[in-house]
């Protein structure tokens, strides 16, 4: 570091000695107090508003009641949402998604109607109805299937005389048991 020259030091000395003189502190005091009062005024207004809104925090029972009410509100919220979440979760595990729009008559409806007819067939009055060609085809198909299976069963029994005897014997026994109470 280069040593400062004599001139430089001289200049510094002069500047150090020549302290800036404040003409009057009263002006500054006055201005400062004025500004403080203005700020204080707005601070007071703000403070008033805050006191108005939040004055209750200094009243013990009000503060405690409001805090208790807040806690209760939060607990209610957690409880309600918890229940709803639980319900939604159990719903997703419980319900089953199905496709298709059409819901047909359950197939066992036919069997029920059949039983009804067997037990009290006289109740049905004859009506004129229409069914589609498709339904007739389905009906005939199932009847054919039933006939074929029954025929096969009959042939099996006919081919084996001992089996035939046994079946006939059982049928007679069953008839006797059914009516006997």
């Amino acid at each position: 570091m280069k040593p400062e020259s004599e001139k430089y030091n001289k200049v510094l000395n002069v500047l150090r000695k020549s302290k800036p003189v404040l003409s009057s502190t009263e002006d500054i005091e006055r201005e400062v107090i004025k500004k403080i009062s203005e700020v204080h005024q707005s601070d007071v207004v703000l403070s008033d508003i805050i006191d108005f809104l939040f004055g209750w925090v200094y009243i013990g029972w009000v503060r405690r009641s409001l805090i208790a009410a807040s806690i209760v509100l939060v607990l209610i919220f957690i409880y309600q949402q918890g229940i709803i979440l639980k319900q939604i979760n159990s719903l997703s595990s419980q319900t089953i998604i199905i496709d298709g729009e059409n819901l047909n008559t359950p197939s066992d409806m036919i069997e029920k109607r059949l039983m009804m007819y067997k037990i009290d067939g006289r109740r049905f009055s004859s009506k004129s109805i229409t069914i589609s060609a498709k339904q007739m085809e389905q009906l005939l198909e199932s009847v054919n299937e039933m006939q074929v299976q029954y025929k096969d069963l009959l042939n099996l029994i006919e081919e084996d005389p001992e089996l035939k005897k046994l079946v006939e014997k059982k049928l007679i026994e069953n008839t006797r048991i059914k009516i006997k109470l």
Binding site: V57, T105, M115, D120, L154, I179
Partner: protein, 350 residues
């Protein structure tokens, strides 16, 4: 031996034919937050036959009705009738049920709507309930296990898809088991109902032999007889053979009228003339509970068939909720307000 199958086949054909006359009906209830319901009915039939006596659910000239025809690739024609109406509340729907003159007028049906304000959420519940038919019936859950019950209450297309799935053998076997068990159930209901009606009609006049307790004690025997003789039931009953076997010859002669009346009542109740349909419900907001099925369009679905309300009331219900945004905002502001106050106090104290 050869006459039996023929009789069976003829009966089957007749039964199929007779059961084909009602349209395939789906009722969709669109529930609104204020409790009003837009009800839409879609009926599909192979014939243009939407006469009142065939209709499963009531509707009249106050509904907006639109008819159309659909023809599929195989050339089959389907007549479609769509009807729509806005009901102010569930009570209005109940009024239509009360004044129903359609196919299912004998059945007691009721809708109900509930709305509960729970501050953060509003919960809605809508239900349609069909009252049970039998006074002395047995619940089907006494005959079927849980898995079987689920299958039993499923819509038919769901049952069919299960039978074609990877577990097809299991579901086919289950289906047969359920058929057999529900057969027994129907018989038991019939006998139980007959016992109930008969003992009501005889009013204890017949003594201990034919009071409810003694008849109930022999119920299982009677059920077996009815099941085993279902083919000849009509003639065996008409000849009095069955009745004599049930209550003895003397009582059978004395109380034949009551027994006949009781059997007619029992048959009427067990084999009710009900035309099946389906119910759908669309709830406001987010679904939170139901006992129904959800289909691909996220609509709730229930099949309605007589078996479901034979011995117990059948209730189709759904619950949903909507968020009360304003309540959340108000609560948030309140909490923030209290928190700010507490924090300010802590700061000032510090």
């Amino acid at each position: 031996m050869k006459r039996k199958p023929l009789k069976l086949i003829v009966s089957l054909i007749l039964m199929m034919v007779v059961s084909c006359d009602e349209p395939e009906t789906v009722v969709t209830n669109y529930i609104h937050p204020d409790g009003s319901v837009t009800r839409k009915i879609e009926m599909k039939s192979v014939a243009n036959n939407f006469s009142l006596s065939n209709l499963q659910v009531p509707f009249d000239s106050t509904w907006i009705v639109r008819d159309s025809i659909e023809i599929n690739n195989e050339g089959d024609t389907t007549w479609v009738r769509r009807a729509e109406k806005l009901f102010v509340n569930a009570d209005e729907i109940n009024l239509t049920y009360k004044n129903d003159s359609g196919a299912n007028r004998a059945i007691s049906r009721q809708s109900a709507f509930k709305k509960r304000f729970k501050w953060f959420n509003t919960e809605y519940r809508f239900s349609e309930r069909i009252e049970k038919q039998l006074e002395h019936g047995y619940p089907v859950r006494d005959f079927l296990n849980e898995e079987e019950l689920l299958y039993f209450y499923s819509p038919e297309n769901m049952q069919e898809s299960k039978k074609k799935s990877q577990d097809s053998l299991k579901y086919r076997a289950m289906s047969d088991t359920i058929d057999s068990k529900t057969d027994t159930w129907s018989c038991k209901n019939l006998v139980s109902e007959w016992i109930g009606k008969f003992t009501n009609l005889t009013d204890g006049k017949g003594g201990k032999d034919i009071d409810r307790e003694s008849l109930k004690a022999r119920e299982d025997e009677m059920v077996k007889v009815v099941k085993d003789n279902s083919d000849e039931f009509d003639s065996l009953w008409a000849n009095g053979i069955l009745l004599k076997g049930f209550i003895g010859e003397a009582n059978a002669l004395k109380y034949k009228t009551e027994a006949d009346s009781a059997v007619n009542l029992a048959i009427d109740n067990v084999f009710i003339n009900f035309k099946d349909y389906s119910v759908r419900i669309v709830m406001p907001g987010k679904l939170i509970g139901t006992n129904g099925f959800i289909d691909s369009s996220e609509v709730l679905l229930w099949p309605v068939t007589s078996d479901y309300f034979l011995t117990e009331p059948y209730e189709m219900w759904a619950e949903s909720k909507t968020t009360n945004t304003w309540a959340w905002i108000v609560s948030g502001i309140f909490l923030l307000f209290v928190l700010t106050g507490v924090v300010l106090r802590v700061i000032k104290k510090g």
